[in-house]
């Protein structure tokens, strides 16, 4: 003990002896000036770094990957739960979405570029510039490729959505969700109302314009918060007013229980209406002690120019081969309920209906000579799932879609409608892991 104390005392004495000249040196005016210069130099460096970092802070990089396994009831089945299965396959691993988003926000202006990288390649999702007015800061102009300003589900991010996919009607009427165009959005601070509207090519997010007509899309929305109850009701009315040019003189419309053709009153190159009207409502409330809950409803009705075999929007290039145009009246709706259970878990139920041709019932679709196709069959989808948030970055989704179709009951039906004499085996189980940063 004594020996160690002696060692310590010796060390302290040595240190003090060493420190004395240093302290003396520190006290000298020259040394103080030197240190002051060094500190000032460091301050200048810090300020320079600060200005560099401030510029970098305007750049935000975010993204998410959705890796999933899904299995269907039959090989090669058509599906809206992540796309149709490859021929001969009813189960697969896939990267459903692989997003990387760069956002540069400089005060009242911003630039956004979002890519989607999956096993199918690289695609563009968003590429737009946005400016906000400097006076009220409630009016903004966006131009480029971005979400169509229609309804709720289109702009509800796939990374936040509790069901793996959007409802069938949105996937059919607004494939890819985005569109090329420009919109004005009015979102006054503290107001219950908001509005957005824009003009778009109407050909989808990655196709070039093929006519001189621009489609008008817009939504007038409201938000009614009830802060004391921690509840809110949001909603809106949306409209889509567009036209497509067709290359054929043949225009089909439903007459009674069959397609009837009109080849005289519509000259080639004329325009045809593509109009939708939508209503959306979302309610948020607490179910204690479980957690927050939401019920969302959306309804769309309208007229869809399409083709015999496809109920997607009609769109052909100027000199493309003529394709007869089919006028379909469409409607669809969904009801989605989400219940949070504690911090990490959510239970999801969704019921989704889409009728691509409201003018005809399933019983008439297979009638000989009626010329209906699978594109006229209505579907309902009941989905149920569990979402588990592993942490703030990772979540798992277990989701099962029960898909039911209208059935055809005619014995003489065409070959392509024969499978629809009964409910198709096309249910899908999706197990997804998502990482978001």
């Amino acid at each position: 003990m004594r020996r160690s104390s002696n060692v310590i005392l010796t060390l302290v004495a040595a240190l003090l002896g060493f420190a004395r000249p240093l302290l003396a040196e520190d006290d000298s005016p020259a040394r103080v000036e030197e240190l002051k210069g060094q500190v000032e130099g460091m301050n200048e460096t810090m300020l320079e770094m600060q200005s560099t970092l401030s510029a970098l802070a305007k750049v935000k990089i975010s993204g998410y990957v959705q890796a999933q396994f899904r299995t269907g009831e039959s090989d090669g089945q058509a599906s809206f739960a992540g796309g149709s299965f490859p021929n001969g396959v009813h189960s697969q691993f896939m990267v459903r979405r692989g997003r990387l988003k760069v956002n540069y926000a400089a005060g009242l202006t911003q630039y956004v570029l979002q890519m989607d990288v999956t096993q199918n390649g690289v695609g563009i999702k968003d590429a737009y510039a946005q400016i906000t007015d400097p006076w009220s800061k409630s009016l903004s102009l966006t131009a480029g490729v971005f979400d169509r300003p229609f309804g709720f589900e289109i702009s509800y991010s796939s990374s936040s959505r509790e069901s793996p996919e959007r409802s069938r009607m949105f996937q059919t009427l607004f494939p890819g969700e985005r569109e090329l165009g420009a919109k004005i959005e009015y979102q006054p601070s503290g107001s219950l109302l908001n509005a957005k509207a824009g003009l778009f090519n109407g050909t989808g997010p990655t196709a070039n314009e093929n006519d001189n007509n621009k489609d008008l899309i817009g939504r007038v929305g409201f938000q009614l918060p009830f802060y004391d109850a921690n509840a809110e009701i949001d909603g809106g009315v949306s409209f889509y007013g567009g036209k497509v040019r067709y290359n054929s003189k043949f225009v089909y419309a439903v007459a009674g229980d069959r397609w009837a053709v009109d080849s005289t009153s519509h000259p080639v190159g004329d325009y045809f209406d593509r109009n939708y009207l939508g209503l959306d409502l979302q309610s948020y409330f607490n179910v204690l002690p479980a957690g927050g809950s939401s019920v969302r409803f959306e309804f769309i009705t309208g007229r869809q120019p399409s083709t015999s075999s496809s109920n997607s929007a009609y769109s052909v290039a100027f000199n493309a081969a003529s394709t007869p145009l089919y006028r379909r009246d469409v409607s669809g709706w969904y009801l989605n309920a989400v219940q949070n259970i504690g911090r990490r878990n959510q239970v999801v139920l969704k019921f989704d209906v889409f009728d691509p041709n409201t003018s005809v019932e399933g019983s008439a679709i297979g009638k000989a000579g009626a010329n209906f196709t699978p594109a006229d069959i209505a579907y309902t989808t009941f989905g149920a799932g569990l979402v588990h948030h592993w942490d703030s970055n990772v979540k798992f989704i277990f989701y099962y879609d029960v898909v039911s179709n209208e059935t055809v009951d005619h014995a003489t039906t065409t070959a392509n409608l024969v499978p629809f004499k009964e409910d198709l085996k096309d249910n899908v189980l999706t197990i997804r892991m998502q990482y978001r940063f």
Binding site: Q50, S160, G291
Partner: protein, 274 residues
């Protein structure tokens, strides 16, 4: 297929059982840290079965933690922003519950030796936006003004920007420091410094009187002036929760806004909400 679905559902059942709550996590405003720690210490001493973990990081950090589910309570020295509410809606289907937990006079600090006793809101704005750079312009010595501020994840930073700078940007020369204590320390060591922060921190430096307009009287950030509304830079200090509180968290919040909890507000140097 049905068997697979049922098996998965059974596996997932344990996940949906609500977690037992014997611990409360509180994160957010640095202005409120000393108050939140004091509340937690006293509450835990009376409830030994409850653990309350308090951390700072700034109001934005706390509200972000509330959005991603990593804290039960977010302390904020500013109201929640609409965008933050939207994120709560998306993730938790909830708007968030706001609890006004205390009041604060946002003090403007100068060095004890600084002869400037009062400033108007416009003068403070001009100083922090870099229009006024010398103390001489506002009746002080002929010396360059050194600006101390908070970092941009701080609710105090946002509040000061919104209500004093009225949305204008801080001057580039502003030194952003992590925490009000660092700002106070910076000003205490710098004869030409100016900073801002919670009234509870105004020790070791001097808080100046603030005039609402050039010709109006100046008021110090005292309890009387803040309660009467005369001091022009007063604000509420908030606690935010995801849902309406139940169980242990409700008990804790009820206690904080009770007379016993509000006495602690006064003892720490802030002001009670009622």
């Amino acid at each position: 297929m049905k068997k697979i679905f049922l098996a998965l559902a059974l596996l997932a059942l344990p996940m949906i059982a609500p977690a037992q709550r014997g611990a409360i996590t509180v994160k957010g405003s640095d202005t409120m840290v000393i108050l939140a720690q004091r509340w937690a210490e006293i509450y835990m001493s009376a409830h030994p079965d409850i653990t309350i973990q308090v951390t700072g990081g700034g109001s934005g950090t706390g509200l972000s933690a509330l959005q991603n589910g990593t804290t039960d309570i977010a302390n904020a020295s500013r109201p929640i922003k609409p965008g933050e509410r939207e994120k709560l809606k998306q993730r938790f289907n909830s708007l968030g519950v706001e609890v006004k937990a205390a009041r604060d006079g946002l003090s403007v600090y100068v060095h004890e030796s600084n002869p400037v006793r009062e400033l108007s809101l416009d003068q403070i704005k001009s100083i922090y936006t870099g229009e006024i750079t010398n103390w001489k312009t506002v009746g002080g010595p002929d010396a360059k003004i050194v600006l101390y501020s908070r970092e941009n994840n701080s609710g105090t930073y946002v509040y000061f920007k919104d209500y004093v700078l009225r949305g204008s940007d801080y001057a580039a020369a502003c030194q952003n420091l992590p925490g009000t204590a660092a700002v106070v320390n910076g000003v205490a060591r710098d004869r030409n410094g100016i900073g801002y922060g919670g009234a509870a921190y105004s020790k070791g430096i001097r808080s100046i009187g603030v005039r609402k307009e050039a010709g109006s009287p100046a008021y110090e950030p005292t309890e009387a002036n803040i309660r009467s509304g005369n001091y022009p830079i007063s604000r509420f200090l908030y606690m935010y929760l995801r849902e309406k509180p139940t169980g242990v968290i409700k008990d804790y919040i009820d206690w904080i806004i009770s007379p016993a909890g509000q006495e602690i507000v006064t003892s720490v140097g802030y002001f009670p909400v009622r």
